[in-house]
């Protein structure tokens, strides 16, 4: 007979690793509040939360992709495409303002997913091509980026600008999406399939997981969420700005990984990702609080922070395995 139970300590350190980002976040907030008077104000907190919400939406989609063992580099381009199409579509009403970007981004996600699932090409390369192609598409429909479509539809604009209790609607939308994503990931067969193919694709296939369908779904979701984030952002900015989203995919990946999701797939979660996004936002806010760092120093500090956070994460998880 084999009998192996988990010790309480083991469970505790597992929790520790999963919520490492959350704890670093709490630490930073405390330090920031002590160091700067204007840091722990409602206004500043709101600005961090509001501006993080768009990255969070993208990162939620990215979490699914990464847990499934893939990666999606096209989200930055999809974000800007979504914004431009939403602004363009808003001329024809609220419905078009949402349907157009979601439709287009969904199709891109579907294509990427199909190529990845059916040909076995590396997601990195397929979505890298997506990054290029989608940005090209965006440039084509905005006359090489020269045309900025403006959002004239008040209903759509309010989707991005309307406020409730000092926070704009996108924050609530993000929160709702995060909750849905959590349930999806932890409590549905689809979520289990995502973990399974990320953990061991071959085994998952042998266990009867519909690998191709799950992969396609994951990339469609990621693209839809990126498009939605773009559309909401366009509503917030009242225009389809064309110079957005460069390097956004790296931010999203960084947030997901800081949140404790393994890039190799098979493990991770939404809470960590949300914490990771907020962590990036808070770091930026702290840099702004200092108020006089040159741009170059800001980069050094961000890079150092990122390194610090991942090393801390890593050591925490090592400690877990040793105990």
């Amino acid at each position: 007979m084999i009998s192996v139970a988990s010790s309480r300590r083991e469970q505790a350190s597992r929790v520790l690793q999963q919520h490492g980002a959350l704890m670093v976040l709490a630490l930073l907030v405390i330090v920031g509040s002590l160091a700067f008077d204007s840091f722990a104000t409602a206004g500043n907190a709101a600005s961090v939360v509001v501006s993080s919400s768009f990255l969070a939406i993208i990162a939620i989609g990215m979490t699914f992709v990464i847990i499934s063992g893939g990666i999606d580099l096209s989200v930055g381009s999809l974000f800007v495409l979504g914004g431009v199409l939403a602004a363009y579509g808003s001329q024809y009403g609220l419905l078009m303002a949402l349907a157009l970007p979601l439709g287009a981004c969904g199709v891109v996600g579907l294509l990427q997913g199909l190529v990845i699932a059916r040909t076995g090409m590396a997601p990195f390369i397929v979505t890298l091509a997506g990054l290029l192609g989608v940005r090209g598409l965006m440039l084509a429909i905005s006359q090489e980026g020269a045309t900025t479509y403006l959002v004239k539809n008040p209903a759509f604009a309010s989707l991005g600008q309307g406020e409730l209790l000092g926070l704009t609607y996108p924050v609530y939308i993000t929160a709702a999406l995060a909750l849905v994503a959590m349930v999806l990931l932890q409590r549905t067969g689809f979520g289990q399939n995502v973990y399974a193919i990320g953990g061991n694709e071959q085994a998952a296939a042998l266990m009867g997981v519909p690998v191709a369908r799950t992969k396609v779904t994951v990339y469609v979701m990621s693209a839809l969420l990126a498009g939605l984030a773009g559309a909401l952002n366009a509503a917030r900015l009242s225009s389809g700005v064309t110079i957005l989203g460069i390097g956004l995919e790296l931010d999203a990946i960084a947030a997901v990984v800081i949140g404790g999701t393994l890039l190799t797939g098979g493990a991770g979660g939404i809470t960590g990702t949300v914490a990771g996004v907020l962590l990036l936002g808070v770091i930026q806010s702290l840099i702004n609080q200092v108020g006089n760092l040159t741009s170059a120093f800001q980069q050094v500090v961000s890079g150092a922070f990122l390194a610090l956070v991942v090393v801390a994460q890593r050591l925490l998880s090592k400690a877990q395995r040793l105990s």
Binding site: M1, V4, A5, Q192, Y195, G199, A205, M207, G208, P210
Partner: protein, 522 residues
């Protein structure tokens, strides 16, 4: 009991399957009847796993027809096959290591609560209930990878059987199971048979076949060499069918693998390697082992007794809390595998797929891997030297490959194992630690490997042999250390080396359960 006039549940009619350079299956006919246990046997690379993968929709046949319940069937994916009631345990444990035990066990049929959402509480309870039926008591929330490989195999088994299956296919299910677990498994198989389910059973352990199987199909080089009832079939006849050799020839060779006489390990000689007080929390508890030149030392014990850990600790592949390893009387520095190999100790790991082969490299590169430093001058490798060495080992171990340049991942399991053995012999070790060296190896190859162990010991090599096959252990080892809960609980020498004594030593003072966890909850 068995009724041959029954309609086949699953039938292969002239199935062929080609891989680049190999015709793995060549017009195979096989009918699986309800309520029978059908043995599928054959040498390594005969095509057993390939046939199973064709049955389960992993591979698509190049020729022939698959019939399911009398109608032509084409399974596009394993999922299709599963839906048709065909459930499988594969040769290599194929589960998701990072997911929890419960989620692995119930993936795809988790109990649902409100809104169709998974009910976690019920899932864990159900998983625990199912597993305890297979003698596995564990926290089903922990990741599967933290379980020993045998326990993982039991989870895979439980998973396969728990579905509403009409056909259950098992590809070497016992290769990582303990005798007691094998009994549990046989109980399950007999129950399935009585329920009218067709069971296909692949194993290289002939004893097992005679214990549970009704009929047998022998594959040789991708073709069916024989099909018929097992009961009347003589053991030697079966072997001669598998090997494709004359019955008399096999008779002459006999079934003996190891030479009966003990090695003459010079008793006066100092140990080639000596481990003192190997300790690691929850795993190893002050283990002392020594191996003298020309001696084969066996490590016995139940699953999870710490045999693999002991071996890994000796080669420095596992961090220790205490203890040291001495080679020729001098302590091994650094605790790294590199140092151990340089000092002449090598380990053939237990988990071939995860720790053995490098799947992207050829047979040739895999064999040469560990010996590279000695095959190079100033960091530049000599291809001529490698070729010569690879050729020798491929011939000596009879490695079946299209060419030395074939990818090792394309070989059958047994041949992969031989490649690994070649890798370790190539570094000319003084002491060889073999962790389940004959797992998944056919009778022919097994005899070869065992003969090889003998031969090496005779040449003065020290061997530490870990095997769950008690017969192998008894026949091969001069001296056996029995481990339990990470500690040596007995040493058997000379005439004490018998299966009964091993079992007795394991059982002594031992309660029903080996609870590592209870120790860790101090």
């Amino acid at each position: 009991m068995r009724r041959t006039d029954l309609e086949a549940v699953l039938e292969a009619k002239g199935i062929s399957k080609r891989f680049p350079g190999v015709l793995a299956l060549d017009g195979v006919h096989l009918a699986l009847l309800p309520g029978e246990v059908h043995a599928l046997v054959g040498e390594n690379g005969a095509g057993k796993s390939t046939l199973i993968k064709v049955f389960t929709g992993v591979y698509h046949p190049d020729g022939g027809e698959l019939r399911h319940l009398g109608a032509p069937a084409a399974f596009g994916t394993p999922l299709d096959a599963q839906r048709a009631g065909i459930s499988t345990i594969y040769q290599e444990v194929n589960l998701v290591p990072m997911m929890s035990v419960a989620r692995n066990l119930l993936l795809g049929r988790e109990p649902r609560g409100r809104f169709g959402v998974i009910d976690a509480t019920r899932m864990y309870a159900e998983a625990a209930r199912i597993l305890s039926g297979y003698g596995v008591e564990t926290d089903v929330r922990r990741p599967l990878r933290t379980l020993g490989i045998g326990a993982q195999q039991m989870v895979a088994l439980a998973r396969a059987v728990a579905v509403d299956a009409r056909v259950v296919i098992m590809d070497e299910p016992t290769s990582s199971l303990e005798p007691r677990e094998v009994e549990t498994l046989f109980g399950v198989i007999r129950r399935l048979r009585d329920e009218g389910i067709a069971v296909m059973y692949v194993s290289h352990r002939l004893d097992e076949l005679y214990q549970v199987c009704d009929r047998v199909t022998v594959l040789r080089d991708g073709r069916v060499a024989h099909t018929g009832p097992l009961a009347g079939l003589d053991r030697l006849k079966l072997i001669s069918l598998m090997l494709g050799r004359d019955l008399n020839e096999v008779k002459a060779g006999g079934l003996t693998r190891f030479s009966r006489d003990r090695h003459r390990a010079a008793d006066g000689q100092p140990p080639a390697v000596e481990a003192r007080g190997l300790t690691r929390r929850h795993v190893l508890d002050g283990i002392d082992v020594s191996v003298r030149p020309g001696e084969v030392v066996g490590l016995g014990g139940l699953l999870g007794a710490g045999r693999t850990e002991t071996a890994k600790a000796i080669v420095g592949a596992m961090p220790l809390d205490g203890g040291q390893v001495l080679v020729a009387g001098l302590p091994l520095r650094g605790g790294s595998t590199t140092a151990a190999i340089r000092a002449g100790i090598s380990l053939l790991p237990e988990d071939r797929k995860a720790e053995g082969i490098v799947p992207t490299l050829s047979v040739r590169e895999n064999i040469a891997l560990a010996a590279l430093p000695s095959l190079a001058r100033a960091g530049v490798v000599s291809d001529a030297k490698i070729d010569r060495m690879v050729e020798i080992f491929m011939r000596r171990l009879r490695i079946k490959a299209a060419s030395p340049n074939q990818l090792v991942s394309e070989l059958s399991g047994g041949n992969q194992q031989k490649v690994l053995l070649a890798r370790w012999l190539a570094v000319r070790p003084k002491v060889l630690l073999l962790d389940e060296p004959t797992r998944g190896i056919d009778v022919g190859a097994k005899a070869e490997v065992q003969a090889l162990i003998d031969e090496l010991a005779a040449e003065g090599l020290g061997v530490l042999l870990i095997s769950s096959d008690l017969e192998e252990l008894v026949e091969g080892a001069d001296r056996i250390l029995v481990l339990r809960e990470g500690a040596v609980v007995g040493e058997l020498t000379g005439d004490q080396v018998t299966e009964e004594r091993i079992m007795a030593t394991i059982a002594e003072q031992s309660d029903d359960m080996v609870t590592i966890a209870e120790r860790s909850d101090d």
